[in-house]
């Protein structure tokens, strides 16, 4: 057999929650490639493996689908690829239809739908370990005879758990069912017939699921538990990540110094030292936070908790024009809106998804924290309130709440504007509880890290270099006084846009700092440091010095106005780029930018005017 013919393409299809991705991970290990299908933002996961018999396979992990009567872009892709009708994707040689052994009533129907295609297929009955624990007995040979295709058992989370599937592929391959078999058959009736023939099931649900759900979905206990889980996630993201973040920034800083020390004095050295390493360092610092957040999200998702959180919050979020499914993306957006917006892919309703994408930037991402810390330190007195609260902490909390409240308000207004545009379905499956497997968590985390790093090394790097150029050139003329940045293009732009921001109380220094903040919001702090020509050993020391200067140079009204501006802060180019990518066009990226800018301007304007009047 020659090499080209030897590599067969197989596709894993199945209902959501059938353990398909775990089986994919078991087959291919870390030899995976994650990309998008051409023209749509549905994730395309492909991997390779070689059987002991020496045959090599390319495996496609198709999005989960309940039916070929597609209700989401994901399901449409699965349908089109299985039929060989997706442009640019060859039809798979073998369809491996994965079913959950404990949920055959639902999953066998889809198997029958796949069988109607008449393509070579194998049925993999997955989660056989869980089925045995529940006393479920499945007569696989009988099922295979009735279906007319090979049926094998798999336990994706166990070493060697895919052996039967691999052997089957190795030995005789897949068998195409008799074509056009019973096209008019009632699939549900056929499923019932198969179940009564080949499956013995003592109970309909697992006792453990019922017991856990009684607590987790309890109207009061469930909400308390959800609050506790969210608190724990936040605590971990902000407390555990801090030492790792220091490590990353110190590492990148040291590497930058090492590299620039080799280079001759000049603009190139400044580009590498300040532009590339300085700029990337500030963004890479968020990698630990993003990874810890995603570890929690993946674990909660694999265990089956997230759909339950969506169940608890759906009524609340539906009232605000979102959906229970919006909860996960919005939670991610507290670390960074970019992974949050990417996570909206799990929302099937396109309008709910769009609403979630548009309000995700209002969640207070961690890049705003350095700005908040600086301004609160400078303008809010450290005072006890009501015994044990600290006024500064309360202001920070209020800023977070203001972001959430604005998001709910904006989505509510969008819901009103759309009027009655048909129903928004929930139809959310609450799968059985499962213990997440470390291997699936690790692979998922590695994928997130890779996506983030790819973005950092492409778009964010390009923007950082551009902004470095704008703030470094032209160099100040000989004998010039003041900060060098004041004479640069960034300085010119800062002066030019200052009239627009004068009603908000922003001086030209702030306007200049807003520009580098376009690449990453927290860069605004170091830009202010540059504007005030400060030299400091570390960012913390810079922040402390800057706090004093800002407090003496700006009015309270200006400080508060800038704080409020950053609640909305439309100036994050990476977020806008991601919105453009995920919505396939500039329209919604433009809408998001425009409404965030308008809100930021109006809210800061109101704050400045009121504060000027109150504080004189």
């Amino acid at each position: 057999m020659n090499a080209a013919a030897a590599e067969a393409r197989i596709a894993l299809v199945g209902n959501p929650n059938c353990g398909k991705t775990a089986l994919f991970n078991r087959l291919t290990g870390s030899r995976q490639k994650v990309a998008n299908y051409a023209g749509v933002t549905v994730e395309r996961k492909e991997g390779r493996f070689t059987t002991p018999g020496g045959r090599s396979f390319r495996v496609l992990d198709l999005p989960g689908a309940y039916s070929f009567d597609a209700a989401s872009p994901d399901e449409a892709i699965t349908r089109d690829i299985c039929r060989g009708a997706f442009p640019g994707e060859a039809a798979p040689d073998v369809l491996v239809c994965v079913v959950d052994a404990t949920n055959l009533r639902l999953h066998l129907r889809f198997v029958l739908e796949v069988r109607r295609l008449g393509r070579p297929m194998i049925v993999a009955v997955n989660l056989m370990d869980a089925a045995r624990r529940r006393g479920i007995a499945i007569d696989l040979p009988l099922l295979a005879r009735e279906l007319g295709v090979p049926v094998v058992e798999t336990v994706a989370v166990r070493r060697g758990g895919a052996a039967a599937l691999v052997d089957c592929l190795d030995a005789h391959g897949a068998i195409a069912p008799a074509a056009a078999d019973g096209a008019s058959h009632d699939l549900h009736a056929e499923v019932r017939r198969l179940l009564s023939l080949a499956v013995r099931m003592p109970t309909r649900t697992a006792a453990i699921d019922d017991a856990i759900d009684r607590v987790v979905l309890h109207p009061l206990l469930g909400l308390l538990l959800l609050a506790a889980v969210m608190f724990a996630v936040f605590q971990a993201v902000f407390a555990w990540a801090a030492p790792l973040q220091d490590l990353v920034s110190a590492g990148v800083g040291a590497l930058g110094e090492r590299v620039s020390a080799w280079m001759p004095e000049g603009p190139l050295r400044s580009l590498v030292g300040d532009g590339v390493f300085g700029g990337l360092g500030t963004v890479l610092e968020f990698l630990p936070q993003i990874l810890i957040l995603f570890l929690f999200i993946l674990a909660l998702e694999e265990s089956g908790y997230l759909p339950r959180a969506a169940f608890l919050l759906d009524r609340l979020m539906d009232g605000a024009g979102l959906s229970g499914r919006s909860f996960i993306p919005l939670l991610s957006s507290f670390a960074c809106a970019i992974p949050g917006i990417m996570a909206t892919r799990s929302i099937q309703d396109p309008r709910d998804r769009l609403a979630t994408i548009l309000v995700a930037p209002l969640m207070t991402c961690s890049a705003r924290l350095p700005v908040y810390t600086l301004l609160i330190g400078a303008f809010v007195p450290r005072r006890e309130v009501a015994g044990w609260f600290n006024l500064q902490g309360l202001v920070l909390f209020a800023l977070y709440l203001a972001g959430i409240a604005s998001a709910l308000l904006v989505s509510w207004v969008m819901k009103r504007a759309r009027r009655r545009d048909g129903e928004h379905a929930l139809l959310l499956e609450l799968p059985s509880w499962r213990l997440p497997h470390w291997r699936d968590l690790a692979i998922g985390l590695w994928e997130r890290a890779r996506i983030f790093l790819r973005r950092v090394t492409t778009i964010i790097l390009a923007l950082t270099v551009l902004l470095w150029f704008l703030s470094s050139f032209p160099a100040p003329p000989d004998g010039a006084t003041g900060a060098a940045i004041d004479h640069s293009f960034a300085g010119m732009i800062g002066h030019a846009i200052q009239p627009l921001f004068a009603p908000l109380g922003f001086g030209w220094e702030i306007c200049i700092a807003l520009l580098p903040g376009l690449a990453a919001r927290e860069v605004a702090v170091s830009a202010l440091g540059t504007v005030y020509a400060l030299q400091a050993a570390s960012d913390d020391a810079l922040s402390a010095q800057l706090s004093g200067i800002v407090a003496s140079e700006w009015s309270i009204a200006t400080g508060l106005s800038l704080l409020v501006w950053y609640i909305y802060a439309p100036m994050c180019l990476s977020t806008i780029a991601v919105i453009k990518r995920e919505t396939n066009g500039w329209k919604h990226a433009g809408i998001a930018t425009a409404y965030l800018f308008a809100l930021a301007w109006l809210a800061a304007f109101a704050t400045y005017q009121v504060a000027s009047w109150v504080f004189g």
């Binding site: 129907r109 759900d213 009524r315 129903e423 379905a425 139809l427």
Partner: protein, 90 residues
């Protein structure tokens, strides 16, 4: 022989009490090509299938947690109202 028509009183799935079970009679289409009704049928809400209302969401009466077959789904009231069930004897 004359066909014997037995009238079975049906109610909407959304009207069941928590913990109550029933048997699906049919799923109403709310429009000509009701995608939600089609999806409900695909998920197993078909005549003869037993269902049970397991729980309701904490804010008001929505969403509903419904057991059908071996699977549990969260449905909004409007979705559950499409499913007509005959109540099981208590």
């Amino acid at each position: 022989m004359k066909a014997i028509l037995i009238w079975v009183p049906t109610l909407r799935l959304s009207d069941l009490q928590v913990g109550q079970g029933g048997t699906v009679r049919h799923v109403d289409d709310h429009s000509a090509a009701d995608a939600i009704a089609r999806r409900l049928r695909d998920l197993g809400f078909v005549a003869g299938e037993t269902v049970r209302l397991v729980a309701r969401g904490p804010f008001g009466r929505e969403p509903l947690l419904v057991q059908v077959g071996f699977t549990r789904f969260a449905l909004r009231a409007a979705e559950a109202a499409r499913v007509r069930v005959s109540q099981d004897p208590a």
